[in-house]
Amino acid sequence: MTEKLQIKDKELVVPGQILAEGMSYIPSGKAIRNGETITSTVLGSASVKGHVVKVQALSGGYFPRKNDMIIGQVTELAKFGWRVEIGQPNQADLPLRDASTSFIEQGSMRKYFSEGDYVFAGITEVGKFIRLSTKTRPHRKLGTGNIIEVSPSNIPRIIGRQGSMIKTIKDTSGCNVVVGQNGYVWIQGEDLEKVLLVQKAIEMIESDAQTSGLTEKVEKMLKGGKK
């Protein structure tokens, strides 16, 4: 059996492309083992770390995982709680018991969340149904602000390494920004100009996601707008 790597690090790969041959390589992300070869399942960028071959998708929708922090929009009130749209084929449920630590009285559900409200929630369960929770700290209802939609595959770039990018955006613009892992971003600020500037900066991160030195570029852009 031959052990051979067919790709270079950071190379773009397409579905079905053979990435490595032999049993000593380990697939990760969107790569899979196919007999004695490792192939990619999506259009994405491949990375090689030792014997681990990883593929990250360039595009595609959001697929929920437990403990993800997402932004959703309440679409309907039901007997069990709220139904929330999270940019995914199936809607998520926010049960009454996971919505708040305080007791929710009958007929007072709209005091907490009503139709059209945006919530920052955590995913507690992914199975037949997707369950959300807003009980613990950072999770809450999002008030007046702008919501923009970005590709979920670019979310790690918007957050940056250990939150460096998002911190830069928040500090230089003075706006309040919440990023949901499902691709929704909520921006709130006193100054509309600045909110629009942040919006533009995020759009730029999305279009130039693969380039380096983005944080400096964003900082320059936001500071330039202040004058």
Partner: protein
């Protein structure tokens, strides 16, 4: 197969448009032509031009079409009224329904449908200009659009037709060869695993001629694969004069 032409189909070993028997028409592919779709591609093969757009995975409507454990691949193949020489009535007809059906099964074989349970992936294919080989062009465009949409697939699906005109077996028939020829054999394959996902035969071929046609098609697959791969990575690609650019 609309009768015999008075003109010969082969002149001095060359076809009416100057190609050799094992040569494909010049091709072009461009990604992301439909901005509101999740993934899209425009593909042209000679004078045949198609646009494919992929929407989804999303919730299934009507509900009864939902498959609980996997995704439904729903294809709509549509020829635009101005795509042919005679105007064709818009809307679905017997032919377009059949092609939609075979395309859906040809592409379903390549998609990991179990990864998207209870959802639908909608693929809309519009034929903007028809000059024979629309279903093969549509499959190439749809496969590239699916990959562009970030859908998990086993392989890309490549497709081209072979056939017989004027007694000669040839690759990638164009309009006169298709109209006055004796047989047409569209094939779709997954080049890496060499699995056939679509094969239809219109007209008659002997066993020998069939084997010859399949050989021509199999040899053309790496070119189509390279073309789709280049287009997905660079945004566009073309095939002209035997080279993929």
């Amino acid at each position: 197969m609309a009768g015999k032409s008075s003109e010969p189909m082969m002149v001095k070993g060359k076809r009416l448009d100057g190609r050799k028997t094992n040569e494909m028409r010049p091709m072009k592919i461009k990604m992301g032509v439909v901005p509101q779709a999740v993934g899209s591609a425009e593909f042209s093969m000679g004078k045949t031009t198609v646009v494919a757009a992929v929407y989804g995975p999303k919730e299934v409507h009507p509900r009864h079409m939902m498959i609980p454990d996997r995704a439904l691949i729903r294809v709509k193949y549509d020829m635009l009224p101005f795509s042919t020489t005679d105007r064709i009535r818009p809307g679905p007809n017997r032919r377009s329904k059949e092609i939609s059906k075979v395309m859906s099964s040809a592409l379903e074989a390549a998609v990991y449908t179990k990864k998207y349970p209870a959802t639908v992936i909608d693929i809309f294919v519009q034929i903007t200009n028809a000059n024979a080989g629309t279903r093969t062009a549509a499959i190439n465009a749809a496969s590239a659009a699916l990959a562009h949409a970030g859908i998990e697939m086993r392989d890309l699906v490549c497709s081209v037709a072979a056939g017989k005109a004027d007694g000669t077996v040839m690759l990638d028939l164009f309009q006169p060869e298709d109209n006055f020829g004796e047989a047409d054999l569209p094939v779709a394959m997954m080049p890496n695993s060499e699995g056939i996902t679509l094969i239809q035969m219109d007209g008659d071929l002997t066993k020998k001629e069939f084997d010859e046609s399949m050989k021509l098609v199999t040899e053309a697959m790496p070119i189509l694969y390279e073309l789709q791969k280049k287009a997905l990575i660079n945004g566009e690609a073309s095939f002209e004069g035997g080279k993929v650019k």
